[in-house]
Symmetry: C2
Subunit: 191 residues, 2 copies
């Protein structure tokens, strides 16, 4: 009985936490980081202010937890896509295209917030895992003769992630598709 109760408590806490993350992300995207207060978050989530403070000390911490959860979920999706595609060249392109689409979603946040988030070590760690996956795919594609081998995979991965961040500035899915095509074209072995 105590163990079942613990599990119930844990599931409840996890639900409340998720609700806080979603609400905060939506409020910040709508109003900006500096305009959102803990009181507004508590009210929009439908919990008391005292309860909210049992979960998180302030707005930036909530946003960091949200961003970390996002990247971790994206990493799981990218891993799945990677493992579904057999050919190393097609695999690289599929993962980069999916990464670009995923990092568009839920990013109402602007550059300055993203900058602040990426200084956090948990978020940086999650982002590094995405970087590592892309780097490994590039190394694999280079070994198979598809990707260029005159630039280290580490640098190619850094290039890809920055080039694909241009997606936030592009107006249509077609333009984003062309960006992925361009980015992949540069890492392909010439000739």
């Amino acid at each position: 009985m105590p163990r079942l109760w613990d599990a119930t408590i844990e599931a409840h806490r996890s639900q409340v936490r998720d609700a806080i993350l979603e609400t905060t992300s939506a409020l910040v995207a709508e109003r900006g980081l500096l305009a959102v207060t803990m009181s507004q978050i508590a009210e929009a989530t439908g919990i008391g202010r005292a309860t909210l403070y049992k979960y998180f000390p302030d707005v930036p911490t909530i946003l960091l937890a949200w961003h970390e959860r996002q990247i971790t979920a994206h990493l799981a999706q990218l891993t799945q896509i990677r493992d579904q595609v057999g050919d190393p060249d097609a695999r690289l392109e599929a993962v980069l295209a999916a990464y670009t689409t995923l990092s568009q979603h839920g990013h109402g946040q602007d550059d300055s917030i993203i900058g602040l988030l990426h200084r956090d070590e948990h978020v940086a760690h999650a982002q590094q895992q995405v970087h590592n996956m892309i780097r490994e795919l590039l190394a694999e594609a280079a070994a198979a003769g598809h990707a260029r081998d005159d630039v280290p995979p580490e640098e190619l991965a850094t290039y890809c992630l920055h080039a694909l961040s241009a997606a936030r500035r592009l107006p249509t899915p077609e333009a984003i598709g062309r960006l992925v095509m361009l980015t992949v074209a540069a890492v392909r072995r010439p000739g």
Copy 2:
């Protein structure tokens, strides 16, 4: 006599302003945006606090003025390089390489500060001029048959500027050279 006096005053004001900009940029790069106060800036510049407030109301405004001045100076340098190189293909690569080197300099500032700066309309305007120049070079190179014409020059320019921002994450001038080579490779007409 009054006109000469006005010119002297103007030159003095301009010198003080430049000194404030340089000092603030150095302090922020060293200590971070939130750790630098107006008093510290006044002291490091060698002027009184009251004088400083006659020039600028707060630290972010000084940093914005500094960043705007940087981008404007870079634009002038890029224009000069553009006008020196005859061949459209070589011109594009020379300007992109110079842009990458210039935007490295004096950027002790981290991502979150750069994000904040780019929300300012003056800085955004100066940055837009750099974007326009790159777009025109790409259109010119496409017309000459060097750059690809299956992606609009506007999108190619957005791609280039984001891809080249990876330079801030690269450890050596050689790695930055490879980044410029990769970025340009993608915009070249295939085949």
